[in-house]
Symmetry: C2
Subunit: 206 residues, 2 copies
């Protein structure tokens, strides 16, 4: 790790980060396709023209936000899935981790859920690509478990997809929920995962 950047590059990355954070903040009450360049620079306290030193577009800023938002996800669930444990424990742990992640990075989660099907193609595609990579990783982890013996690669991948979609839906549900609803949502998510896990266990009988 050589973080010995010159003073100039350090400052540049600082304002770049400020632009990203300002954008993310503004996106809590609107969609990316309505986010204004001037709006963002105004929050940061920088001239509109300065924006172009960092991003070509608002869409470009959006793509950068995708990487920032989904980068941490990989480490997150990887850790959960790798600990070889009882299925029930893995489920409980997964839902806890998702809930914690939402509590820690609500804006990032909202951004992904919102722009996954949002109005900006480049961002949609970036999210799709990142979630596909994530799905591949989950599939890889699932494949090593003994429950997956005799499963085709395709079937493992479709199960991973089911998990990924469920994760995003659950995260988004946590996000919009009032604090007192969190337990109910966690409970539903756990039961749904349990049902899927049950189906997984009986897949070979077909």
């Amino acid at each position: 790790m050589s973080n010995t950047l010159g003073v100039r590059q350090a400052q540049k990355q600082k304002t770049r980060q400020a632009l990203l954070e300002a954008g993310l903040g503004l996106l809590e009450e609107q969609s990316l396709s309505s986010l204004g360049l001037r709006e963002v620079t105004r929050v940061v306290g920088v001239a509109p023209a300065a924006f172009y030193r960092h991003f070509r577009d608002i869409a470009d800023l959006g793509v950068a936000l995708v990487e920032e938002s989904l980068g941490s996800l990989h480490v997150m669930i990887r850790a959960v899935l790798s600990e070889q444990a009882d299925a029930e424990e893995v489920i409980d742990r997964s839902v806890e981790v998702v809930a914690a992640h939402v509590r820690l990075h609500p804006a990032h989660v909202r951004f992904v859920a919102r722009e996954r099907h949002g109005g900006v193609r480049a961002v949609r595609e970036a999210i799709a690509a990142e979630l596909a990579r994530f799905g591949d990783e989950v599939a890889e982890a699932l494949a090593t478990q003994e429950v997956s013996d005799g499963w085709s690669a395709e079937d493992v991948r479709m199960l991973a997809g089911l998990y990924v979609d469920h994760l995003v839906m659950t995260a988004s549900a946590f996000l919009e929920a009032a604090p007192e609803e969190e337990r109910r949502i966690a409970d539903t998510a756990r039961r749904q995962l349990r049902l899927i896990s049950l189906g997984r266990g009986h897949w070979r009988d077909a």
Copy 2:
């Protein structure tokens, strides 16, 4: 059905419908929160001020679009679920119906998927409410099936939620897919439903 409206009301509903369709069309490449009132009236070929004769807001137009988009859904799946048949047949039929619905009303499907987590609160809530109603109906249908004997109402409802989320995800996947990918998507959707159905069948053992 008394569709004997006066000439005036008929004309009004006609332009109202034109506004809705213009909005829906424009929303194929942007989000509701960036949709402009003038943009919509320009497409219809009507003065900007005329918009206020029909809607208070763009958000208001969005809410109207929600009803239009999700109204037909109820009849759709109801028909599928009510025909008491083999589980496998119901799955095949469901995926077919979803694919057909997407092919027939792509803009409506895109609108729902996009604005479900979109930047306009009122629309988000309208979609959530409508999908909740839909989930309740599905739960009701599921409850009458013999597979659900011994299930708590909550468990039936969580299964219905799983189905509804899966339906929306599948519809959205069809939407963004190239024609040659449709078969693969349909195949994955069917296998996922089969796995869920399998888990459903073994739920009592817990």
